[in-house]
């Protein structure tokens, strides 16, 4: 991708700017689609129909929402810390957008082909924690601060299972670069890490239970990291009135929302790249190539976005102690077992 851009534009900084902006071209329409998807899926799961009047079955409603949000007055509470209040949404979005730099969208495009891709994503998304804390603090509203605190505590504790379950996949693939991880899984769905990767059959069968477990745990911990139901304690409408973004309105609120949806896809993208073969075709050579790769990647990613929506509209919110119990007493010990077992199987 960069070579192509360099041929087109010559060796200028523009090449990198365009390369960095490409994921945005994906995220913006994706967010519109997902807002609609979330509304439609939630409505139909509750036997409702959601938007029906803006366009065919209300497909234009997200556009209308954006126009509304653009027009809305941008209020800042009088007692808020104005500098931090303005900065926070951008920091939150920056945290999730920066994560997209190491996501391989197709065999031809990855924002930054660095050696430590997943590790970088885990690290850079912690910017969002600071952004959330900043938003909660700057709002000068005790519920917002509560939400921000909960969010930070939650993200910090769920970083452990996330990192450990990433580690399981990394142990099998032997690389932290998601592009290499994806190449490793090329050649059909039976080569995906969730099914043990392209290893000899006996090893695959031995690995299968552990990879399945860590795959599930990565998904669960990912949902918790992006603060979505059933782990949406930081937003908890019933107690905290949206938590850290209560005081935000207009475009700043929209950016929080965009960051949330970007995060939802980021989690799906990590799960897909690590365990489900990323942009590789599930049928070997059939329908493979850079364009089809992008299609497969987005299709798999959207499936997990749908899963997250599905879970959100099924399960109720956890209590704080249950949340911490799940992270420290269930997910982490299970992953330790997985890591030991996978290491043992790979070495022996």
């Amino acid at each position: 991708m960069y070579e192509l851009l360099q041929q087109l534009l010559g060796d200028s900084i523009l090449v990198y700017v365009i390369g960095a902006a490409l994921p945005l071209l994906f995220i913006l329409p994706y967010a519109l689609v997902t807002v609609l998807l979330e509304m439609k899926v939630s409505a139909h799961m509750q036997d409702r129909v959601a938007y029906m009047y803006t366009g065919w079955h209300g497909v234009l409603q997200p556009v209308a929402d954006i126009v509304k949000l653009l027009q809305k007055e941008d209020t800042i509470p009088g007692v808020a810390d104005k500098t931090l209040f303005r900065l926070a949404p951008y920091l939150v979005f920056m945290g999730s957008y920066a994560g997209f730099a190491a996501i391989p969208f197709s065999s031809a495009y990855i924002g930054s082909d660095i050696d430590l891709g997943v590790f970088y994503i885990v690290a850079i998304t912690s910017l969002a924690v600071i952004g959330i804390l900043m938003a909660g603090w700057a709002s000068n509203n005790k519920w917002s601060l509560f939400g921000a605190m909960r969010s930070a505590a939650q993200i910090v504790s769920y970083e452990i299972p996330t990192a450990l379950s990433i580690l399981v996949a990394v142990m099998i693939t032997g690389s932290l670069n998601l592009q290499d991880v994806t190449h490793f899984q090329d050649g059909g769905f039976w080569n995906w890490v969730v099914f043990g990767g392209p290893l000899p059959l006996t090893q695959k069968l031995l690995l299968l239970p552990f990879t399945l477990v860590s795959f599930f745990i990565l998904f669960i911990a990912g949902i918790a990291e992006v603060n979505r139901t059933p782990f949406d304690l930081p937003e908890a409408e019933s107690e905290l009135v949206q938590g850290y973004n209560t005081e935000y309105s207009g475009m700043k609120f929209a950016i929080f929302y965009l960051a949330e949806y970007a995060n939802v896809f980021l989690v799906s993208a990590i799960v897909v790249s690590l365990y489900l073969g990323g942009w590789t075709s599930p049928f070997g050579e059939f329908m493979s190539g850079p364009i089809w790769g992008f299609f497969w990647f987005v299709a798999k990613g959207m499936f997990f976005v749908f899963m997250q929506i599905w879970i959100r509209w099924t399960l109720p919110r956890l209590r704080v102690d249950q949340l911490m119990y799940t992270s420290w007493k269930v997910l982490t010990p299970f992953l330790f077992v997985c890591i030991f077992a996978v290491g043992f199987i790979l070495v022996v």
């Binding site: 900084i13 050696d115 590790f119 912690s126 910017l127 603090w137 601060l145 930070a152 910090v156």
Partner: protein, 166 residues
């Protein structure tokens, strides 16, 4: 000025400006948040030095861990919702003395060191090398560090644990 220099000066400026805010801001929370950009700028400088593992670890540990702790500390220490926390300058003279001495030492070291330049191509993949080194040549320090951390963890759990009333 090539791209490298532009990026270097950008990160250097971010680091220094944020550091200045940390030092001069009267608002403790602002100082804590400015620390984020200081850490971030330093991480950027590490990347420019081809130390990607160090850069990412810097982000993960300082931004994701220590800064969050600092913020929690600042936010939870007192009744901070209404009170504007301010810092003030006291003991200017001793501070100036110490800072001057420290700066003098550092600058002295900077001038007296024989900075070597190498023409070797930088190592592209640092992580495998670092991992190998940690588990072979530097195993003992690595293990000692992990034991220290384990002790800290156990201690923290001990302190945090509420005594069950009999």
């Amino acid at each position: 000025m090539d791209l490298y220099a532009v990026v270097f000066y950008a990160f250097a400026f971010i680091t220094l400006a944020a550091g200045a805010i940390v030092v001069f801001s009267r608002n403790i929370v602002h100082a804590a948040f400015a620390l984020l950009f200081a850490f971030f700028g330093v991480a950027g400088l590490y990347v420019l030095l081809m130390a990607d593992f160090l850069a990412i670890t810097q982000l993960l540990i300082y931004v994701g861990g220590i800064l969050v702790l600092v913020l929690f500390g600042v936010m939870l220490t007192s009744n901070t919702i209404d009170v504007q926390m301010k810092t003030s300058t006291i003991q200017t003279f001793p501070a100036v003395l110490i800072v001057a001495a420290l700066a003098g030492t550092l600058i002295g070291i900077f001038w007296s060191t024989d900075w070597k330049t190498t023409t070797d191509p930088p190592i592209q993949a640092t992580a495998p090398k670092i991992g190998e080194m940690m588990l072979t040549s530097y195993l003992l320090p690595f293990e000692i560090a992990s034991v220290v951390l384990l002790v800290a963890l156990v201690g923290a759990a001990m302190i945090a644990r509420r005594e069950k009333k009999a």
